[in-house]
Structures are given as structure tokens and as C-alpha cells.
Symmetry: none
DNA sequence: TATGAATGAGTGTTCATTCAT
DNA sequence: TATGAATGAACACTCATTCAT
């Protein structure tokens, strides 16, 4: 079938309680990541993922109610990875240090598995997945908190958070697309963009 | 027959010399735009495009050797539209004015047909299309020229151009995704980001 | 998919205007009939039907939006065949003759392609198809008209029509299942059942 | 693995001697009934049955060698239920009273769990199950015995029994499908059909 | 003996592309 | 040159059944 259209559940079918299941689930998600990385969207199909994971297609569907649910799970995995790192920013003394740490985390996330990160950024935008993908809000909130500390008087921390997220992601994406590998330099430019933006916004309002 | 095969030509099959053909080609491209806008990737198939264009699927293939060629043509159309507007920036007196004009053009491009612009940004990234999509280089060059005028001493105009392009596109994309409609405000923030970035980069180097 | 579940259109996709199409459609429906007859429900799948029809699976789906739509089309064909024959009953002089003709038509329908008729009787009952299958109402009306002529004073022609339809179909089904071939005898027993029922119902009411 | 293969045994794997097993078997069969009733054919699968029964799928296969065996067991249960009630007819004084009792039993059977009864009537007809389903013969024999008492001179009690079974089942099925609930009225019409049929058949022979 | 994770053949359906008319 | 019927590889997903634990 379908190749379908009606809303399908996007959450895992069963919470793997048994260790064997947990392994299987993890291996399927990692296989999805690898297929996406190596074959791109074109080759990202459930049969390929199952094969790469070394499980049967039936097993895949035992744990994920549909292809999209698998994608969502992968996004969640990556998001969690990222968020865990990024949350450390909150422990920094100064707002500036927090922002700098966040930039570092973003760069790390984007350049570790660049292809994967970029492809997932796209998938995240698919309307069918919207609402299941927590990242936006969560990251947004994290960044809002950081901005409030770094720029206590900023008039519009929410808007600024959205803009900075877009800036960071956009630049990191482009850099990885270009094949950049000089992390130091990229981070320097990102700091310029971020602090440049902040120093010129949110002062009065109108 | 297979939907995945050897590299297919991505250029239009015939340069439409007769005006009738030119019309047909244009109507197909516009139909592609509309289908992409209204149905998203999911509904973007050649049969739907042909139907919307009011031509037979056979005719579509007479003018475009494959689906990707159609996508490329659409990207070209949009890019040309954008580039034409953006090139006006070069006529501005000051580098600052040129940059501001460019920002305005980007916002216009992104918010006129937001869905279309965003979808095409994604398509552009597909490896299968890379190399046929002129935009990056062209826009890059345009921006390099502008930066050289606005910041004659900038150490790395090429890198800066790449970054600014990413910043502008990232922020505009995100804004349109959020449904923002206050163009004025968006442009103000973009100026902050762009000039903020420029003022903090390219000074020495190390 | 049902590999699916959501309501799918049950009507043919395109009314075949071109003669070639009409042929294809007819051959697909006949193939469906043959597959159902020879393989039963178990073997009744769209690939088998397409193969038997000598067309590709794609062609099948060009004319029928789904498996159920094909089944419905087959039911319609058989129903129309039957109804055309049965309607002749209305031209008979007496109500008795009309009823007898109707019995004959039913027997003919049921014993011509017995397996097919029985299988379709079952399919007709599937909730997913209900509402698209006209037969019940139409035949019901036909029979009501006949009963009104044969038994003008019958108190409940609608109920009687439903009962008689069930009796006729039930007996004919069972006969064909048993492999009976003596049409004469079956018709005699059907007349006994029908007229026996009528002579003992609908007289007063309570 | 294939879902279509060589003939599979249709009888329960083990005659449950231990009371625990008997309970499990019964609960599986009742679960099958409920799934069939609530989900129809579409939802009637072994996993659903096992879950509803509160046993593992493995256990289900411990007691039933396959899905069909489970279906057969359910049919047997219902048939036995019915037969037990129907057999009381034999204790009636007159043949007429016996027939009337049988009609009552049929109506009761059909209207108690109407959906289930109808679905099983269909399943019974599946060739794969034929031969394992005792009902026809047994009920046939019961009815033959009754007819012989009610119409000692009837020339063809076997044929009549088949016809009457078909009539009763057909009418009761249709009634339950229509949602009729007036049992009294349905029984009256059934008596009309049955006695009407008998009074007009089996006299000479032809 | 019970469990339930795993299997994989099978099925419905789509859609890019071709080619006879 | 235009048409649109036809093609079929590819893909998402199901479910009866097995077997290691």
C-alpha cells in the first residue's frame, strides 16, 4: 500500500523492554542513519534499512508502525544527542560562554555526520512529521534561556532565538555542504554572526 | 520501467525556437511550480504536472527528458527571476545600499511564493541535481562583488559571501516557515545579521 | 496495503471512451471473474487478475482505483446481466408468470457460473462494498412490483420481497454448492417455496 | 514464510485432557469469535486472537496447528451449540411441533450473535474447510428425521431437508442483516415458508 | 510448557517513462 | 508533433508461522 496518505502513528510500536529488542531497535535506527547517509533520500526505503540492520522487514515493522515513525525515531536520537550536548551550555558562567558553547555543539553536531545532519534537517521540515519532532521548541527554549542571560535587556528573545537557530544551522549546513573541515574557523565566523546579530537587535523595538 | 537508472540529461530537450513551444514549456514549468506549492513533494509527479499544465504526459517528455530536468528548469526560472532582481544591487551607489537591496530581493523572493521557495531550496541540494543548478556560483559571485565594494579590505570575500548567503536564506526560510509577514521587521533583522557578521569578520585573518 | 483501511474510491477511474480502453476494462473484469472462479478468494489478487487479463498491473490500476473497485465492477456486471434478464418478468401477462420467470432467471444466473455467483454473493455482503452495490434495492423493487401484481392484497410486499429474494438465493446457492444440475427440478422446488410462502403470508397482518 | 502451502491439519493439536488446557482452548475460541464479530474478516488474524485471548501467539499454535483449524474449532463450537438446541425438536410429540421448534432454534442461533453467525456461514463455505465442518450432514440428518415424521409420505426428504435448511438460513441471515428484531414475526414468516414448501413438494415426484 | 521476537513471501499500489497511434 | 494507454520495477506494509529462550 501506500504509499499511503492517511495519518499513521509516528511513535514506536512497542517500548522495547527486553534487552534483545532494545538492541534490535537501536540497530534499525543506526541502519536508517547509514542508509540515509550513503544512499540519500532516493535509497532510503524500509527494505534497505532492514537489510542493513541485518533484520527482516517484518522485524522493522514490529518496532516501527511505518517508515515515517522510523525517521522520527532517528531524528529523536540525533536531537537527543545534540540537546544533551547543548544543554551543557546552561552550566556556563556567562551568557557569552553559554552562547559560545552552543555554537560549538552545533558545529560538532553538524560536522560529525554531515550528510546525515543535513538530510535530517530536511526531513524535519516535512509536514507529515511536524508535531512529532520536538527539536524546534526545545532548542528554541534553550536558546531563549541563554539569550536572556547573555542579553538581559533584549526586547525579543524569542524572535532572536529563532533567527540565531536559523543562522547557525544555515551556516553550518552550508559549511558541511562545501566540505569545510576547519572547525576553528567556522566557529569564529559563527561567533561573529551570532554576536553581530545580537549587538544590533533588540535594543528598542520599533 | 525503472525509476532509478543511469544519469539522465537534465537540460531541456529542445531549445524552444517556435513561440508555441516556448509557451508550452513555460506552462509546464509553471504547472510544476503550482503542483509543488499545493501538493508538496508527495504530490509532485510528472502526470500531475502534465495534467495541471493541460498537456499530455507525452508532451511533457517531449520537452523535458525526465522529471529532474523539469525540476532543474523550474529552479532555473526562479533563480533567474531572483538574479535579475538581485543584480540591480550592483547599480547602487554604495556597497551598503547594494547589500541592503540584496537583502530586500532575498526577502521578496522568499516570501512571494514561500512554499515554492522553500521546497526548491531543498531540491537544489539533491546530489542528482548538483552541477546543473547555477544559482550558488552565480549568486556567490554577485555577492562577492558587492562585498568587495562594501568591505574593500575584507580578507575573505568568498567565504563571507557563502556565509551571508546561508544566513540570509536560513533566516528567510525560517521566517516564512513561521508564517511571518512583517517584511519590514524581517529585513531589519537581516541587516543586523549581515552587517553584524561583516563588521566582525575579515579584518586580519588569524 | 489492505494493506489499507481508509475509504478508497470504488468507482472506475476513467470511463473508457476509446474502444481500446473499453476492451481492456472488459478483459480485466472478465479476468477477475475467472480468477475468482478458479482460485477462490485466496487467489483473488490484483496481480493474478492483471496477468490473466494479459495486461500489466499498472493498466489495471489505471482503470480501477483499487481492488475493491474491481470487485464492485464485477458485481455490477453480473448484476446488470441478471437484472436485464429478470426485468423481462415485468412483461409477463400474469403475476404468476412473472414470478415464475423471475425464478427461472435466478436459477440461470446462479447455475451458469455457479462458483462465481456464490463468491460474489459473499463479496456483496462486505461492509466495505455496501452502498456501491446496487443490486439489493433494485432487485427488491423489481420483486415488489411483481408481488403487487401477483398478490394485490398482500399486506407486506416489501417484507415478502426480501424474504423471497433470500429464499431464492439461498436455495439456488445451496443447489449449486451441491452440484445439482437438474434445472427443471430446482425450479419446481423454488416455485413450491415461493408460492407456498406467498399463500401463507400477508393475508391479514397480526 | 508462505501463507499458502500444503494442506494443514484442521483438527486441534491436542485433545485437552488437563482442565487448564481446556480452559485455554476455550478462551482462544471465544476470542476468535469476538475478533470475528468486532473486526470482521479483515481483522481476523491469529495475532489479534491470541492477544484478545490473553495468551501468546506461540500458545495459540500449541493448541491449533493453523488458522484454519481455529476457524473450524469455532464453527464446531457454534454448530454444537445449535445442534444441542435443535436436537430437542426430536422430543416433540408431533412432526409439526418439531419443525416449529427447529425454526425457533435457528432463529435463536442466528439472532443471538448475528454478526458471528453470518460470518461463520461464509467461512463454512470455504473449500479449504469443507469436509471438516460437520454441520451440514448432521443438521441435514436431523432435519431428515423430522421431515419423515412430519411428512411421512414425502418422496424426497433428503432434498427437502437441504432446501429447508437453505430457506431457513437464507431468511434468517437476511433478517439479521436488515437488523430485524421482531423474532415473533420472523418465525411466523419462516413457518409460512417451511410449511408452504412442504405442502407443495414431495407428493408424487414428477 | 509458554513466550514473543523474528521471519519473509506475498500483496496492494504508485509513478517515471515509453511508444503505437 | 501530440496523445494517453500501457508498462513494470519498486516500495510500504501484513500476517501466518517458527523457534530460541
Amino acid at each position: 500500500m501506500s504509499q499511503q496518505s492517511q495519518p499513521k502513528p509516528l511513535r514506536p510500536r512497542k517500548t522495547p523492554s527486553q534487552p534483545r529488542s532494545a538492541e534490535t531497535v537501536a540497530s534499525i535506527i543506526e541502519a536508517a542513519a547509514q542508509v540515509l547517509e550513503t544512499q540519500g533520500f532516493e535509497g532510503f526505503n524500509t527494505n534497505a534499512v532492514a537489510q542493513r540492520a541485518g533484520v527482516s522487514i517484518g522485524s522493522l515493522y514490529q518496532y516501527f508502525p511505518g517508515k515515517d515513525a522510523l525517521t522520527v525515531a532517528l531524528i529523536h536520537r540525533e536531537t537527543a544527542r545534540f540537546y544533551q550536548d547543548a544543554a551543557i551550555a546552561l552550566t556556563k558562567r556567562s551568557g557569552k560562554a553559554a552562547l559560545e558553547y552552543l555554537i560549538g555543539a552545533s558545529v560538532r553536531q553538524q560536522l560529525q555526520r554531515p550528510m546525515l545532519a543535513r538530510l535530517l534537517d530536511v526531513e524535519e521540515g516535512r509536514p507529515a512529521l511536524r508535531g512529532e519532532v520536538a527539536k524546534p521548541e526545545t532548542m528554541q527554549n534553550l536558546l531563549v534561556a541563554i539569550i536572556k542571560r547573555a542579553r538581559p535587556r533584549h526586547a525579543n528573545p524569542e524572535v532572536a532565538a529563532g533567527d540565531l537557530l536559523a543562522i547557525i544551522r544555515g551556516m553550518a549546513d552550508a559549511a558541511s555542504e562545501r566540505g569545510e573541515s576547519d572547525i576553528e574557523d567556522l566557529e569564529r565566523r559563527l561567533r561573529a554572526a551570532v554576536f553581530g546579530y545580537l549587538s544590533r537587535t533588540g535594543i528598542s523595538k520599533g
